[in-house]
Amino acid sequence: MATALFGDSVKRTEDPRLITGRGKYVDDIRLTGMTHMAFVRSPYAHANIRSVDTSAAANAPGVLTVFTGADLQEQLGGLPVAWLLPDLKQPPHPPLAYETVRYVGDAVAVVVADTAYQAADAAELVDVDYEILPAIVNAEAATKDGAPQLHSEAENNIAWDWNISGGDYDEAIKDPDVIVIKQRIVNQRLIPNSMETRGVVADFDSGRGNLTLYTSTQIPHFVKLLYSLVTGHPEQKIRVVAPDVGGGFGSKISIYAEEIVCGIVSKQLGRPVKWIESRSEAYIATTHGRDHITDVEIAGKKDGEIVGIKVDVYANIGAYLSTFAPLVPTWLFGLMLGGVYKMPNVVCRVWGVFTNTTPVDAYRGAGRPEATFLLERMVSRFAQEIGRDPIAVRRKNMLASHKNGRAVTTGVMYDSGDYKGNLNKALEIFDYRGFRSEQRAARRAGKLLGVGISTYIEITGAAPSAVASSLGAQAGLWESSNVRVHPTGKITVYTGSSPHGQGHETTLAQLVSSELGVPMEDVEVLHGDTDQGPFGVGTFGSRSLSVGGAALFNSLGKIKAKAHTLAAHLLESDPKFVTFEGGSFAVEDIPDKSMTFQEVAGAAYGAANLPPGMEPGLEEISFFDPTNFTWPFGTHICVVEIDEDTGQVSLVRYVAVDDVGNVLNPMIVDGMVHGGVAQGIGQALTEQAVYTDDGQLLSGSLMDYALPSADMFPMLEVDRTVTPSPVNPLGVKGAGECGTIAASPAVMNAVIDALAHLGVKHMDMPATSEKVWRAIRDAKETQRAARAAARRS
């Protein structure tokens, strides 16, 4: 493999390993003397624990020990929250419940046995006597007087009451020319389905007092820190390893009960403990996403000028506060409500509400999809109400292009953008005018064809740590990198980012290759092992390249600088006459005076002839803390056709034109857009977590939770515009979530557009066949009734 450049579509170097079954996931870890743990979980959504009888389980074949929540109450402590809001209610979150269970799946006991099968068999024998309490699953209903209360600390189940505003919405709508359109929108709860479920192996070394935790996580360094804070185990005696991680989508950015419990039990037992989450378990024990009940108003004038948006949200956060739960529906949501529009007035209030459901945290997009859906749906709705084209309305309100910072109503500064340029490119690819005439013909032929658009912007690359801290972050959100050049000139990179499918091993090696002119295969990218490099933050919120990549770029800069100085010294030249190109240092105009990068590395370690004051070795660390978030944006256009007889929605075309700044590896960005769009379409058309009123999850398996499948998709037409970001040295923006954020409103706008002539104005996601069929039936009934009334009068 040769050297790679910034912008090359280098194939993913991790794939041969991963797709031939040679990856190493947590479940592939087998240690001498390893035991297996199963969790006993509550089948009830809300109950007091009267007693737990573990005797039958303890006597079952192969069982080593059984612990209840009460047994471990002191050692386990409580799970922490990493993001605070003003007056946030933080009820205790015990890793194992000992008094009350608050959702189906809340863990109450663990069984440890020689095999996973024995542990599962014995877990069924743990006899818990529950006093069943009334449960509540709907976030709005949970805030009403008389609703079942989950925590004594949170009156009316309200964990927070947060708001943000800019401009003066109430004043703006006093203008008699302004019309206000109101809509209730439910953004349904989703269940992340990473290909690899969670899993933990805890290995306590009683001789040294060291604990190693292998865990399927996006944040190994935070797990180390938080484990230490929760249990008091000294941080230097904890090593956390995230080996190959098979997806996360945000559901692995929390510290979980199972990580704490496995560590404590391994210490108690003096043996390694493994727990692997089953898919059924993942449905109830791993955090969910979204779940907003929103009342939204959009205000504007007949000429298409939008004057403001007002949003009230009941954000369902489940039974306990997950690690980043307070962040997702507040800042990551509220800051995005102006979109790519001038939007002079924004007002937003969000209640975080406890319910008897699985805790809710980040899920691909995390807050931005919810905001973007509201905004993009309501902009199209506004256009429909005033009888104007949704694209004309968008164009009229769009922000002007800018290259270095544009302050917006929500108080943040977008880094760079050319929103109209991007829209124009998408429209050109799509041929919007052509479509509208095709649609008219289709309608005449009795076909239901619709087009939907979303012109989104989102926030990625968390974060400027000082800003994040002022908003409630309890940790810095910079990123680290370590570049170790070996004496042979081969390179090991450690990144604090923690990939779980994104392809960092490829892209970061590509960046090294591009910067140092060394072959890709000479670069080993390590990640996810807290003993291998400096403290890092992790991978979430589309931050790895713009923050972690920038940290790597800065380390490479230091390496280059030192190598340059050393090379000049060895070449006996003034450094300013030494060039570095294609992996080789050369003295200008003296062709035979040159040294390869590898020779310089060898000299740095040989240390026989270093310039005065230079330390031996060639290794650098950088911590990069950006000055702003990055703000990718773009235009997605979707065409759907609806089968009038069945209500089934089929995707006909999908055009995605994103702007994620400079692009290091276009193929990988395309892949991220594809996957993201698929997830956004999943939310729009098929996915939903469904609870019964008493808190049983009906959509608790892949047989009952409809993930989108490949046969639903047309070939996606993916293109880009490029507006470099000024806030990191690579000029890149996050690309991991934009597809998801953009897709749901584009698809739903298309569904509504296909039905608009029947009088349909809104439909909540997912647009299931039955829901669409009913909407068509009801709309036709309404039209018939109206015609009948007209005839009578």
Binding site: Y117, A120, R279, E281, V690, M703, D704, S709, E770, W773
Partner: protein, 289 residues
């Protein structure tokens, strides 16, 4: 989830397999392709203590002419049905239905015998075989019998099969000339099982429908003949009006056992059954010429 404990046998002859079923009668389940049974065992919805895997027995996988009709070995996979030229030419709806089962990996494992014996209320093949007609050959250690397909599916996940019997073959009759077939399915977006599936086998002679077998799956507790629909079709010219009227009765036989879940209410299922009955009948009628 992991299964509870069970003993596993992998006999290489039918005699051995049927002997095991007799010895462990009531405790043993037959394992064919495993794509229904294993998931149920992992969820502990099924906890047989003995599994008799018949996958190692030679000679149960074939599609061959059998007198005027066709005989299909019970371990013939969906994929084999989907690609068999004999099936495609003689029973196009069977090849088509098999091609609509789940994904390729499942179709490489799942078998026609397993599908019939499991009798999933939303399985595709029970309805298709019911519409074609024919019989299921079942063997015990000592004897063998033929069960008419019309008497085979008894109830939810229940067939006429005794618990010491193994399906060895499915016998399909020759379809008269002038017969057209079709299978129209609306799949569950999560499981890809049928929310409703309608199989139609229609014979037209001199412009009149002389024979019609219509079977519905997914809507009720088991694959069921839509006899009212058949009666409306038989003896008539298949005009759009006749087909519409017949299709409107397609859910009548399953009315009392209609499924109702988060993907389709009973009302919507009834409607979908009518829509897909119309599509299947139209397509079969067109193919009948």
């Amino acid at each position: 989830m992991v299964t509870s404990n069970f003993d596993y046998f992998a006999p290489t002859t039918l005699d051995e397999a049927t002997s095991l079923l007799s010895r462990y009668r009531g405790e043993a389940k037959v394992l064919a392709g495993g794509h229904s049974l294993i998931p149920m065992m992992k969820l502990r919805l099924a906890e047989p203590t003995v599994l008799v895997d018949i996958g190692k027995i030679d000679g149960l996988s074939y599609v061959r002419e059998d007198g005027d009709g066709v005989a299909i070995g019970s371990m013939t996979t969906y994929r084999e049905l989907e690609t068999s030229s004999l099936v495609k030419s003689r029973y196009p709806l069977l090849a088509d239905a098999a091609s609509k089962v789940a994904d390729l990996q499942v179709r490489n494992r799942g078998t026609i015998g397993g599908s019939l014996a499991h009798s999933d209320p939303a399985g595709d093949l029970p309805a298709v075989v019911l519409a074609i007609g024919g019989s299921v050959v079942a063997r015990t250690r000592r004897s063998s019998r033929e069960i008419s397909i019309d008497r085979f599916q008894v109830d939810l996940l229940t067939t006429a099969l005794h618990d010491n019997e193994i399906i060895t073959e499915i016998k399909l009759p020759a379809l008269p000339s002038g017969t057209g077939t079709a299978y129209s399915k609306f799949h569950n977006p999560a499981s890809h099982y049928a929310i409703t599936g309608v199989a139609a086998v229609i014979t037209v002679s001199g412009g009149t429908c002389t024979e019609a077998r219509i079977a519905v799956t997914g809507a009720g507790d088991k694959a069921t003949r839509a006899r009212r629909t058949e009666r409306i079709l038989k003896g008539k010219e298949l005009t759009p009006a006749v087909i519409r009227r017949a299709a409107s009765r397609a859910a009548a036989e399953v009315q009392d056992t209609l499924n109702d879940d988060i993907f389709a209410s009973a009302e919507y299922r009834t409607h979908l059954t009518q829509v897909h009955a119309q599509r299947a009948i139209e397509e079969a009628a067109a193919a009948a010429g």
